[in-house]
Every structure is written in structure tokens, then in C-alpha cells.
Amino acid sequence: MAADGNSKFKRIGLQFAFWGVLIILFGTLMVNFVNIGQPNQLSAYDDDWDDLSAFRQDINDMGIKTKSLVSSPLLLEELEDPRNVTFVIAGVERDTISLPQFSGDSVVTFASEDGYSPGEVDAIVEFVIKGGTVIVFEDYGYANTIAEKFGVKFKRAQLFDTVYVHELDYNYIWTCMQLSPCGMNGTVIDTETIESHSRWNSSDALSGRHICAVWADLMALNGTTISKDEAGLCAQHHQDGVIEYNASYQMLLNNITSIDIDESNKHSAMITQGIRAVSSSEATIDINGDGEIQLSTNTKTPDLWGQFNLSIEVCASVTCSPFEAGGRVHFIADGSTLINAIYDYEGFNAGKYGPVTKEIPANDNRKWALDVIAEALMGLDPVTGMPLGEPSPTAMVIFDESRHVQSNVATDTYNMLYFVLVYFTGEGLAKLLLFIGLFVLFEGVLLKKKDPDPWRHVFSIIYYGFGDANRYSYYAKTNKIKQVFLSKVRNQNGLTREEFDSMPARELQAMIADPVLVKFVFENRDFTLEQTVAIVKRVKVWGRV
């Protein structure tokens, strides 16, 4: 009983230890891959001041579907009409999960750093090549794996500029979507320095102009007056019944970095790179992040000074025009460009997103963002190829939520599991592994899964009680036979052991009365098998009357 109790406790202990180790391992895994952060920001589906709900709402109001991508950009490969899709990456707050995958030259690699795995980056590049539009808002996050494929690189250090919002603080930087920096006149933007967008205000009648400008011209040619509701994707330019396209954009950015051009890893399909916005020539970058600007070369890590790129557009076509095949990527050196506080500054100042301490000045962030959407998603006449003003029937904006830190375990775990699912059905190596896994699963089911055996009564009383077989050879020995025979002689004559032992040999010989057996008893010699058999036969019949 005690032994049973011990083994029971041991079994319970072992089970406890097993599940404990399993939980610790799973917990360790989850801690590494599930990052719980502060209440999430930059989400298109939350309506805090630092989320993108106003932007998403505007898109929905224009009749464009919006989706969120919580798993992986690998899904972009599955889109049927990428030309009418815009993929918005607003802040890459977390690194990718390092899983093995095939690199371009069919070597198994692990994604090591910077946000997106090679497979995901390839999916984004393919998406752009097929005509999709990507907007990347980033400052200090992990977007460089994407950026490098398009020949640019985020500096990931804070940029300070003299062109900032004095009513707020130096973190709020003004910039204009134009090739030369706009300047300040006191505490406000000097309107004399404001120019036009470098691509959207070209003299080219079609490909060098913004699609809203083209559509406005078409409307003007027809003499059509349109209401704001009918203005469709160009409603942000609607004035007095007509579309008055204006290509100047006074953008307000917050906590920005800069974007360098680095073509070392650029994909060959990315033909055109265009700088769309720059800082003033007196901007500085705090490279070492110590909060001080030290430009002297004597310092170990001197900070940078000069003019830096704040927005770059990379295209898979020569002109970047929506009338050409091939998409485009807009890189903005600020992850918070479209947050509700700046994008919907009127609502913010009115207290729509919470208490207001300082008011956000008017800006053109909304106009710029909607113009990007208009250019990317406006439907074209299938016959003439001219813009229709309305979004394409398949138009869609996808917000990348897969790299946003979630505020609770369930959401983040869901995202992670969804990522794994997409990884295993989208990545080449993972597909191979999945096939092997499914094969093993089926084999396992085939081998291990048994139906319960049918019940059957088995009648079994087989039992053999064996004796000691070792004694058989002993009973064939001459001395044993001799002993058995003498016992028989003694018993037949009713003698005790003592009487028998003290009996003279002559008397014993007379008692035996068989010369062969007498010889057997008194001669100490070896007998052949035949002789022994004959003797045993004689012993057996000896004494019978």
C-alpha cells in the first residue's frame, strides 16, 4: 500500500513538473513574442487623439472600404486588384517574429531585425510593382527593412528645425510638400516661401498633375457644376461648385526624423525616387540621442546639421503617375502625421478627442493624405482612361495593425497566432514545413489513433505447473539408483536405518539374492547406459512375489 502511495505521489509530482515546465516554456515564448504596451496608438480603429480614426472615417465616407491587417503583409500577395489598394503603415512599433524562410537565392534565413521579414518585404515590393500604393509614416521604429528595398533609409534620430510651431514646442515641425524648404516669418510660416508639390503641379497635362486637377479640368471643360457630395475623392478641393485643386501643402509634423537615400539594397523595379519635402537648411539631428546638439567633430558622435529629407516618393514607374502601370510608396519621416490631433485639428481643438491644453494650428495634413488616396484609388474610365472622380469599385485601404503594440494579451496573442497562420500559408519554406507537418499529422493519426478494441470474452485457463527438471539427470546417476535400490531393500525387509547400516555385507548380498544387482551394489565402476537401463528394470521388478 505504501509503495502504491509513493508511486502515486511520484506520478502526480511528475505530471505537475511536466505541466509546470510546459507553462514556463510557453510563458517565456509569449513574453518574447507578445508585447503589451501602453494603450495602443496610431490605430485606425481607435479614436484617441493619437489614433487614425478620423482619417479612416474620411475614407469610409468617400465610399472606400477599409481593412486592418493584424497578421502579416504576406497577405498582400493574395489581393486580386492591388492597383486599387492603398496600404498604410503608420509607425512600426515592434520587430518581426524571427521565423525561418527562404531568401531570394533559396537559402534558409531568419529575419533578424527591423520590423518585417524578407518574405513580407517582398510581398510589399510585389504589391507596389503591381500598382499598389503604400504610405509609410515612420520616425524611430522598425520600417527600415521596407525602406531599404525602395532605396531609402530612416535616420531614426530626432530632427530639430527652426521651422517649428512656436505656440506649441520645438517638437512640432512645419514642413511643406515642395522641393525647397518653407521658412518662418516670426512665429508663422512665411507664405512667400510656400510653393507647390513637385510632382502634382507639373506642366505636363496628364501624368505630371494630380488626378484631382485632371478631373477638375474635365469638369470645367464640360461646364459641370458639382456639389460637395458629388466631388467624390476630390471633395477636399471643392469650392463654390467646382474643384479648385491647390498643390501646396503646409504639413505639421511631430517628433520627426529624416530620410536618407541609400540605394544599396534597392529593388531594381523601383525606377523613380523623388524628394517631396525637406527640412530647412538649419535643421539638426541628435544622432546620439543625448538631447543635446553637438556639432563639433571633436565629440565622439557629432550630431548632424543642414537640410534633410522629410518625405520621399519612390515609384515603380517613370512618372509616378496613376495613369501608368506600377505603384508608388510615400515615405514620411513622422509616424504621427495623420493622428487625430493633427489630421482633425478642428475636432481636436473642439475637445472631440479629450481635454485640450494647447490648440493645434491649421495644417494641410488631411488635404495631402486625401490627395494621396485620391490619386491611388480614383476610378478611371475603361474607355478613355480619364478619371471619374469616384473611387474604383474595388478600392480599398488597408491599415497595417500587425506591428502595433496591443494593449492586452488576448489581442496581441491573436495577432501573433494570426501571423503564424499567415506565415505558414504564405512563406515558401513554411509552406514546405506545413506540408511535412500535415503529412506527419496524417501518419500520426494513421498509426496512433486506434478505435477501442471490440469487447470479446476470452476463456483462458491455460496453466502448466512444472516440476524441477534439473533433478532428472540426477536421478539417472548410478549412485542415486544405488541409493534408491538399497532403500527398497531396507523397506522390503522392514529394517531401520541403523539395522540396515550395521548389517554385514554377506547378509545384504543374501538379501538381494540377485547376482547382477549384488554386483551393481558392491562394484564401484561406471556402467554404460544400456547396463544402467537393464539394472533399473531389475530393480523395478526386484522383490515382487
Binding site: 499529422l441 476470452v458 491455460i462 523397506n491
Partner: protein, 417 residues
Amino acid sequence: MWTRKASFTFAGGISLILIGMMISNHQMMILGLSFVAFIVANSWISGHGDVEVQRTLSADNLYKGDDLYVELLVTNRSSRRTQTLEVYDNVPHEMKLRSGLNQMKMNLGPGESARIRYVLRCPLRGHFSIGPVSLRYRNTFNLSVEEMFVDHHSDMIVFPQLRDVEEAFIRSRTPKMYTGATTLRTPGPGTEFYSLREYVPGDPFKNINWKAFARTGDLMINEKCRDAVTDLYIILDSRDIARIGTVLKNPLEMGTVAAASLANFFLQRRDSVSLIIYDEKLSYLPPDTGDKQHFKILSSLAGVAPKGAMPLQAVTNSLAARFSRGSPIFIISSCEGDGTVPAAIRDLVGRGHEVTVLSPSSIDFERLVSRIPRMSYEVLKIERQNRMTSLAGFGSQVIDWMPDMDLSQALLQVRGY
């Protein structure tokens, strides 16, 4: 628990979903999803084992080789159908199904019952238990199966067979024992008239002789002769060495048959019979008469198993004081592997007991299962004969019992060694 079919369906469903995702084939994904949904939906439609069982046996006690009729009544107590329910009555593997089946598949509606009837043959003596009742229920599509059991047991005792030995005792001169009810010429409880005496307070009224009262005017009591019975002792060797042979033919099995038959014979003659079983310990059933003693003896014999190596002399020494003077003693033993047998028998005979040794020939039982070289067998037989001779020399009756010999036949063949 899922069946193999369910596992395959589920694994197939998951595979179809994943492969469908890989190759962007929605039909394949929907098919896979249907498979998984089918499994999930089926997991809600399961059977149950909430049934009541009641087992009826034709007898609780029976003799080896008899048939046992079993009826199992299964009733669905629930308000739901059982779905496919398999019922299996667990029968000891020592019992043989003679007719019928101890299992049945059924689908019982609420309150419905089903009966399972089968007949068992019990070729081995022992204490047995039928049960528990195992239940296995599956859902309609055989996708899930659950097992449980109803802890319902029916215990029974299979006694050793009883052989008729009366003829042997009539025809044989030996062993001749003056057993059975013997009238003693002393007053006491009995059946035969002894004398008349005057009534004393406390005498039962039924013993008053009314004719004598009418004649004499005094209350007179009929006194009876005391009936005396013989105490008979049966000593059974249940040591480990008694297991040699086959399951049905070994010294212990034959010994239990002999002990039961002898006890039955002597109890019918109104003797007091005592049973002593020695193996690794000593089990002593004091002498007594009647059906109750018969049942006790048979129950004890049903449960004996070969074990231990207690010497016979230890048994006789410890019980010598309990043996009634001059009472007959039956020793049922192969007399193998115990050097104290001659001394023990000599002591018993010396104390005036009439000792009969019924000795199953263990070397011949061993020959049933082992290939013994002829010469060794002959020498072993001679040695055994020597042993029997020496026991007979001490004054006991010795019976060398061969495996193929019936008990009454063996009792007739008492040899004068």
C-alpha cells in the same frame, strides 16, 4: 474521445483549410471548414451511459463443471436516447461462454429496457465475481466514443466437484472405519429409547410419557440413548509443490475433489468432519456436522491455492491436542518434498489414530506437462514406492492415486505395501 474516423475527418478538414489558404482556393477551404464544423456539431450530439443494470444468476453457489445462467437487465433511466450503446458484462476468463453472448449493442429510448441472457460453464473451482458492466456509447456517426462502467458485481463460489465414494467404502475392506451415528448405552440426546425416570422441573413437556402418567399418576419422562458421532479429520496438502500438472489435473485439484467428496460422504453419515489445510500457514476448521459445516468445507476448498512449504509434522504437532482420541485422519498429500511425512504419520498412528494417506502421484502429474527421461521416471517412481512403503510400514493405509484414476477407484485400490 474521438474515433479514428473523427480524427481523420478533423485532420483532413484542417489540412484542406491550410492548403486552401496556401493556394488561395476558397472551395477547398470551405470544404475543410465543413469537415471541421461537422466534427464540432457532432460533438454536441453524443450518446450517454446513464443506464441501470440488474444481474440475475441462476445460482450463487455451484459445483465445478456446472452451468450458470445469467440474465442482465439494462434500463435507460435518462430522458434521452442512448444512441449506439454497447454493453459488455465482464466475465472471469476462467469461465467459458456456453451459449449466448455477454455483450449487446442497443439503442434504448427513454425508459426502455433490454435483456442479455447467456450461459457460463465453470470449469474451475474458486471464488469468482461477474462484473462490472462496461458501457461504450457512440454518437450516430460513430465520431466519438466514450467508455464507462457500472460497478455492479455478482459474487459466486464454485465448489470442487463431489464424487460418489460410498460404493468404494462398501466394497473395500480398507479403509474400514467405524464411523457414523453409533448408539451408546448412556442416556442423552438421541433417537432410541433408554429408560423412564421421574419428571424434574425444566424437562421439556414433549418428553413426558403420558401413558405412564395415566398409569402411575406421576409425571414420567422418556429418556433416550445418546447418539455419538465420529470426529473425522481431513488434512489437505496445499503447498506450492501441489501445483504440478495441468490446470485440471494436479495434486491440489484432485485433493480438493477428494476432500470435498470424503467430507460429503462422512457428513451424510452424521459424522463430525474437520478440515485442515496447510500451505504457507495452517487453516483449521474444527469438527462439526450438518449442512453448515458442509458449506464451510466446500467454501474453504474453493479458495485454496498452492503456496508455501509447511511441513506436515508442524501441522500434526500443533493440532495433536485437538485431535479426538482414535479418530480417523485422512491425509491428502503427494508426500513430495517433505521429509517430515514419515515421522508425522508414525506419531499419529502411535497416538491411536486410524491414518489414511491419499497420495496423488505427483511424478505422474509432472509427466503430463514435462518430458521426463524414462530411466529417471522409473527411478523416481521406485523412490516414491519406497516412500509409500515406509508410510504403510508405520501402520497407515496408503493410496497411490494416479492422474487418470477416479476417486472411488483409487479408494478401492488400497495397496498393502
